[in-house]
């Protein structure tokens, strides 16, 4: 036990370093329930994506498979890496976040799709750096907040942290990518919340954000007429919000997606139309079916039972992740896992919620389900980090076995 304090002062020489463990220990350190549930979700996702992309030449199922393959490798690598080593690179991660988010704005490699400059082309592959940046952001937020050892009381320090967390979000809003921006904001707030920030500060932040949002919405019309262009919110963003409040406002335009999404889900019924029989997406009524509206394809093909299965799987996955957060050896690990947890909760809520009319429509993909290799990599990397936190949850035991080995 005397070893522990010594180890604490120098994380790099932590006893939990996995490199010296035997093969049996390595596999014992796997969180099997989590991995099994995650793999079932991934398999389910591949099935639905295969069905949604089989009729379309715009999407390639092989590319999705490739994303899963690369993701699995990345996951295994991260699992073996001691996550706590990453806690020291706060400023590096911060810089990496900003670079990734500004990359699409560069000439030549930047690509504009649907009015957002969110993609880059490297070696003929289209990548969305904003997705990869999510991982960096989670790690950055965790390492930033973990320094406060669970007691972020000072107003000045809170403001400093909040400001630092907002910088990458402002960068991504330059693309602009409101969806990713919202995800990052949620991750940041979760880090502050779990990191022990004073309750009053959190409440004050939420109140101010809500007030600013209402102010922006109300002043937007005034500013638009005053300056003659879209100053705060784009028209389509405002439309989405208004349509969310009343879907009959614009059935041909912004309301169209919502209406078609609900038709797809509703026509699935209890047991669905069967694999490959999703007429709403196959006949093109549902836009972006394999990406943002993949849940509609699932709901149409497998019905309420299929949807419920996914929800149960997701719930199981998230509770298993929460369990990892509870068992993390240090606060850094806890914050990394809760950051990932917050990202997934929010994306699932927003994606499924928008398709059934509970949330406004935003382009946020569904974890492990949506077509898109960048986000698939993010999910596997997240899974890898969680597995790493789990694998390194028990430094004492490792240290004991290690010192025992050393004695031998």
């Amino acid at each position: 036990m005397a070893v522990a304090p010594k180890m604490q002062s120098s994380p790099s020489s932590r006893p939990g370093s996995t490199s010296r463990l035997g093969l049996g220990d390595v596999f014992r350190s796997l969180n099997y329930p989590l991995l099994v549930v995650a793999l079932i979700v991934i398999g389910y996702g591949l099935l639905v994506v295969w069905s949604a992309t089989s009729e379309s030449s715009d999407y390639s199922f092989n590319r999705q498979l490739m994303g899963v393959g690369v993701g699995l490798v990345l996951m295994l690598v991260l699992w073996r890496v001691d996550y706590s080593r990453l806690s020291a690179f706060t400023s590096v991660l911060f810089g990496l976040c900003i670079i990734l988010m500004l990359m699409p704005l560069l000439p030549v490699i930047g690509v504009t799709i649907n009015g957002a400059r969110s993609w880059i082309t490297i070696f003929g592959q289209q990548i969305q750096p904003g997705e990869i940046a999510k991982i960096c952001y989670i790690l950055f937020a965790a390492s930033l907040i973990a320094r406060y050892k669970g007691r972020l009381d000072s107003g000045l320090e809170y403001l400093k942290c909040f400001a630092l967390l907002m910088v990458p979000i402002l960068c991504i809003m330059l693309q602009p990518d409101l969806g990713t921006g919202m995800v990052l904001f949620v991750i940041g707030m979760v880090a502050l919340f779990a990191g022990g920030a004073n309750r009053r500060w959190l409440i004050a932040t939420v109140v101010v954000i809500v007030a600013l949002a209402i102010l922006a919405l109300t002043l937007d019309g005034l500013l638009d007429t005053a300056f003659g262009s879209d100053v705060l919110l784009k028209d389509y963003q405002k439309n989405r919000l208004l349509v969310f409040l009343d879907s009959s406002l614009d059935p041909g335009g912004a309301g169209y997606n919502l209406k078609q999404a609900q038709i797809a889900i509703g026509s699935g019924g209890l047991s669905g139309k069967g694999l490959g029989n999703a007429t709403q997406s196959a006949l093109g009524f549902l836009p972006e079916a394999p990406t943002d509206f993949i849940f509609c394809v699932l709901a149409e093909e497998f019905g309420f039972l299929g949807s419920l299965l996914l929800i149960v799987l997701y719930a199981a996955l998230l509770f298993l992740v929460l369990r990892v957060a509870f068992t993390s050896y240090d606060l850094y690990g806890t914050l990394v896992v809760t950051g990932i947890l917050g990202m997934w909760i929010f994306q699932i809520l927003e994606n499924i919620g928008m398709t059934c009319g509970l949330m406004p429509i935003t382009g946020i993909p569904l974890p492990f389900m949506s077509y898109g290799s960048s986000f698939m990599l993010v999910n596997f990397m997240s899974l890898g980090l969680i597995l790493s936190v789990w694998a390194h949850r028990n430094p004492v035991k490792s240290a004991v076995s290690q010192s025992a080995r050393r004695v031998q």
Partner: protein, 699 residues
Amino acid sequence: MNTYALAAGIALSLFALLIGGFFVLRYLLRSRRKKNRGIYAPSLVRADKDRVTDGEQLRGSGSLKDRPARQGRGRFYAFGVLIAAIFGTLSVKLWSLQVLGHEEYVRLSSENMTSEVSVPANRGRILDRNGNELVGNRPSITVTGKRSLAEDTALVHRLSLVLGVPLGIIRRNLLDDSEGVQSDHTIASDVPMEAVAYIREHPSLFPDVNVESRTVRYYPYGSLGAHVLGYTGPVTEDFLASQTGEEPIPYQSGDSIGIEGAESTFEHILQGMHGTRTYKVDAAGNPTELISEAPPESGNDVVLTIDASLQRETDTILRDIITMVRGDGENVNCNAGVILCMDVKDGGILAASSYPTFYPADLSRGISTELWEELNTEESGYPLTNRVVSGQYPAASTFKLFTSLAGLTGGMINDDTTFYCDGYWDDYGEDWGQRCWIYPGGHGTMGLEESINQSCDIFFYSVGAAFYEQWRALEGEIPVETERPNPFQDYVATWNFGSPTGVDMPGEAEGRIPDATWKKDAFSDTPEEAMWQPGDMTNMCIGQGDILVTPLQLCNGYATFARKKAVTPHVFSHVIDSEGDAVVSYTAKSVEMQPKYEQAHHDRVLDGLKRVVAREGGFGPLPVEVAGKTGTAEVAGKDDFSWFVGFAPADDPQYCALCLIEQGGSGSLVAMNGVIQCFARLYGVDAGEITIWQNRNER
């Protein structure tokens, strides 16, 4: 967004900012005095300052109970509650969408993906009595577009080049509203395949230009029998709007409907029923798969009593006669006429020619305003008018047949009745004197048969005067002249004059048999002229004055005389379905109003009619005896109209034919030639050259 909402929004956000600011301020003031404990247990919090160093952080001990998240468990349990709440809400929402709202969304889904396309049915054909196709259908590749395309000058130029149609025509077709303002306008019909291929391969050059394969009416013989056949046109928006949905045949925009002639009369037989194809469509509306199909039902074919070869003959004869009369130089205004030939036995019309004529094909494609105006000018002679049934003329001397029968039946003419003709008749005084056509000569003492033969007017004036006296004698019983019975007019009406014959051709006129009542109405503005005068009666008896008949009424009257029984004239023979089986045959309606006369009277009049033709040499080479009557109608302000109507064989009549040449000049042989040629054709002999130049002064 209205002003109130705006003000409320600003107020609310300012209020929220104030509250937020209050908390910030309150905390800043409080935090100076008292350090917050934080969410994690103090035992774990090793640094007592907020400043932190790299790498140093909060860690748990070896025991799982000491882990950071366990210490801050309130906040971490919140995640669990959040997950449960979110997934619970989503499940409830999905339940309501997928289980409760299932049926409604299934309906919306199938509405989304299916599209019904109407498949037009073929219109039935019109055949002649021998099965020759008079009107058929043929496919026509048509280029159509919306009216607004006319504004795109570059597009109109391209269309002009590709279609080989002048610019002005394309613009005019696009702007023409005869097919309805909403529908696609026909830019060009019967477009060559190369042009179609070019347009289809360059959709970007021809936006909103459609190429359709349409079925159009096809008239193998051009203008043959145009007035009998009529024409079709697109249904009008007004007609579609007036449909109640209860009709046996529902029409749709773009359908053709019969407008004139047999196309109109037999519309209910010819028109087919639309079929429906249900397609699965994608979001862009492109059909991807045929789900179900209700095939269209073609309309049935109508067989007419018309004999196409005879019709062609009469069309040609009529045109030739009129051309020759005009070329003669004496009657340059001659521009119209009628030849009508009926089967005496059953009243079936074998040929009905009306001149001037038109080409139905030009009209069936949709009539352009220009063409419509051109067909309705005085110079063109109103070619769309079917003079056979719509033209009304003084019957002239041909009417003497009916005057004779009226006189014989009424007792005005007996076996030995004669009148003396000195060319001038003044029984009602010098002021009311009337001439015979032969004036300044005279016919001498005339009996009935010879009066018919030589068409002596004096004889029939005398008959008319006797009828007038009979009518006036009623003055003692019925002083008001319009209330008295009219023995002559009533008798003539039994021969179907003054009322439609009921023929199955549209646009039939009534004709007019004037009497005191009619005259009072007609001259109501000048009451001093409204009295029924003896001259009105005597003029009517020679078919002049105010009497009007249609060629069909006159021919029908002669045919009725020939068969001694009235039947309704008709062009309808039977209906055959798509398998060629006759499904509906003509059933003769019994005519209640039958003319009455004695056989002896019939024989005397027939004798007169035979003499008319015999005088002309028995119609040359015809193998049968013909009975008939000439007529020269005087029309105010126009040259005389020439009539001839006759039937053959005289003693066992089979055919009845009529010819009228408007403004053909005095001399009834002009019209007689039309009938000779018609009979020659029917009996398969060559009547030789038209011989209209003989006896130009004969009546």
